[in-house]
């Protein structure tokens, strides 16, 4: 195994573990749509950087683009978090509007850049579908550090997070720090999406935050089992997707990972259906 693949594998596995744990809460709180909104805002951030690069050529670099992706993802995460807790605006509508606006702006910006420079932005396809090449050791270490931070925060605040996810209202009225947990989860979602965009792309990154949790909840009956199952599902998806890309380089990483996750989801549904049928009383 070459050093590049090893580095990428470490980054992807670290990301998979963090996404797997968060995906449980995303599914239980029905935040899949919020994940979409945050994920696609990354393309809006990249689009902003591409347009600015036309005005200020010194900003035309992958680092600047990624910085805008990070900024947009985090601002969107906190903004959607505030909308979701507010009763003045319908959260679904607001997220949907922001989601399509981010996507539209990202694609529009890409066309503006193409019209001006007669070539796509340097990493346009990367932001859509993820990439394998160019992962430096620094990125892998950052992925590991971020994922460790996510797992540590979730582990320390586990009772508060579970209480909040079960019922935010009664969690708050029981004295749990519901608002803190809410915004912390939004921030963690934003951070893992920022990393995940590099691996799976903005179009598919939310699959990492939905499929492992959904699959695990279909198979396990207790939180510990759900966590273990979600992590296993995510690791199989991440490693499998990378190996597919390593074998057939024309197949992008992001879609490969997502389809392996989807296959596991289908298997879990079949197992769940068979288990329910076996448990049903005989007629």
């Amino acid at each position: 195994m070459d050093a590049q693949l090893t580095t990428t594998l470490v980054a992807a596995c670290a990301l998979a573990c963090a996404c797997a744990v968060l995906s449980i809460f995303v599914v239980l709180r029905r935040w899949a749509f919020i994940g979409e909104g945050i994920g696609h805002s990354g393309l809006g951030g990249a689009g902003t950087a591409w347009v600015l690069a036309l005005l200020f050529p010194a900003l035309d670099s992958p680092g600047v683009t990624y910085a805008f992706v990070v900024l947009f993802c985090l601002l969107t995460a906190l903004g959607i978090g505030a909308v979701a807790r507010s009763r003045r605006v319908n959260a679904d509508a607001a997220i949907g509007i922001f989601l399509v606006a981010s996507l539209a702006w990202g694609f529009l910006a890409q066309q503006v850049y193409f019209q001006a420079r007669h070539t796509n932005p340097y990493d346009f396809n990367t932001y859509l579908f993820g990439q394998v090449r160019g992962f430096g050791t620094e990125f892998a270490l950052a992925s590991v550090a971020l994922s460790a931070a996510v797992l540590l925060v979730v582990g320390v605040l586990w009772p508060q997070i579970v209480a909040y996810c079960f019922d935010p209202l009664t969690a708050q009225t029981s004295g749990a720090r519901a608002a803190l947990v809410h915004y912390l989860l939004m921030l963690l979602l934003g951070l893992v999406i920022v990393i995940g965009v590099r691996v799976a792309g903005s179009v598919l990154v939310t699959a990492l935050l939905v499929l492992p949790g959904t699959t695990a909840l279909a198979l396990a009956r207790r939180m510990r089992g759900v966590v273990a199952c979600a992590v296993a599902v995510a690791l199989v998806g991440a490693v499998g997707g990378l190996l597919v890309n390593a074998k057939w380089s024309f197949l992008p990483v992001g879609p490969s990972i997502v389809l392996i996750l989807f296959a596991q989801f289908l298997i879990a549904q079949a197992i769940g259906a068979a288990r329910d049928a076996a448990a049903a009383p005989a007629r």
Partner: protein, 271 residues
């Protein structure tokens, strides 16, 4: 007119003074003064839209009064709730995800999260108390079952255990007998009376069920934007209730004149 207890020595746990609350231009509560004695049971009745649920929200610190003050055992509602062991709450129609992967025991223990604090786990003595509660509410034998497998009555008892897990001083119940049949309501009333006695609870419960309210409440407060009545159930004017609910107390086995169209049934107070 301020309606307060006539007993100057009454030790109050909830003291509401000159309370106003409005949603925008709509006044929901107007100049409410209410004192709840420690260890008592207050039934809060009133027509839909009268402000009962809003008052509960204010007591839980979920909303801020437009004017006036609320004191819960010497604290603001937010501080009282933040402590985790002052106020317990059982909401009407609690939202429960049926496939949430926790057991009945774990559900009851969720009530300890606030008391334990942000970075600590629940104390052992509190976990022992939760086991006793599960036994008291009659679901100890299903404590390891997933919450998705519970019947409606079992789930309500589990949520009740959650509300009491931190041994609160004040228990707020919002329509606790809604959706429960008559025998279930009777069992709930008896069960609540016993727990209240053993845990020295103060209970405020909102209900449309006048029979259940009069069966267990020491005091009744009739709320319809303003507080129209706050005294013992026996002195409750029948014409006030008829005006509020378009129904007759005697026809419900409570008092007053019978009126056509009102269903009759009987709920006994616990002995």
């Amino acid at each position: 007119m301020r309606l307060r207890s006539r007993n100057p020595r009454m030790q109050t746990i909830v003291d509401i003074t000159h309370l106003d609350f409005a949603y925008g231009p709509q006044l929901v509560l107007n100049h409410v003064d209410l004192a709840v004695a420690r260890g008592s049971t207050l039934g809060l009745i009133g027509p839909n839209g009268g402000g009962k649920t809003t008052l509960i929200k204010l007591l839980l610190g979920l909303a801020r009064a437009t004017r006036g003050t609320i004191d819960i055992d010497g604290m603001s509602p937010r501080d009282a709730v933040r402590r985790g062991d002052v106020v317990g709450y059982l909401p009407q129609n609690p939202r429960v995800t049926s496939n949430f992967p926790i057991s009945v025991r774990q559900l009851a223990r969720l009530g300890l999260v606030g008391k334990a604090g942000l970075l600590r786990r629940a104390a052992r003595e509190d976990l022992v108390f939760v086991e006793e509660l599960l036994e008291r509410v009659g679901i100890r034998e299903i404590a390891d079952d997933p919450v998705g497998a519970l019947s409606g009555g079992q789930l309500q008892r589990a949520l009740f255990a959650r509300a009491l897990a931190a041994r609160p001083r004040l228990l707020l119940l919002d329509e606790p007998t809604t959706g429960i049949d008559r025998s279930g309501q009777q069992r709930f009333i008896e069960f609540l009376a016993a727990l209240k006695r053993d845990l020295n609870l103060t209970v405020i419960f909102v209900s449309h069920d006048l029979r259940a309210v009069t069966a267990i409440a020491d005091r009744i407060a009739c709320l319809n934007v303003t507080l129209h009545y706050h005294d013992v159930p026996e002195r409750m004017p029948a014409e006030l209730v008829y005006r509020m609910f378009s129904c007759d107390l005697q026809a419900m086995g409570i008092g007053g004149k019978a009126h056509e169209g009102c269903a009759t049934s009987h709920v006994t107070a616990p002995t």
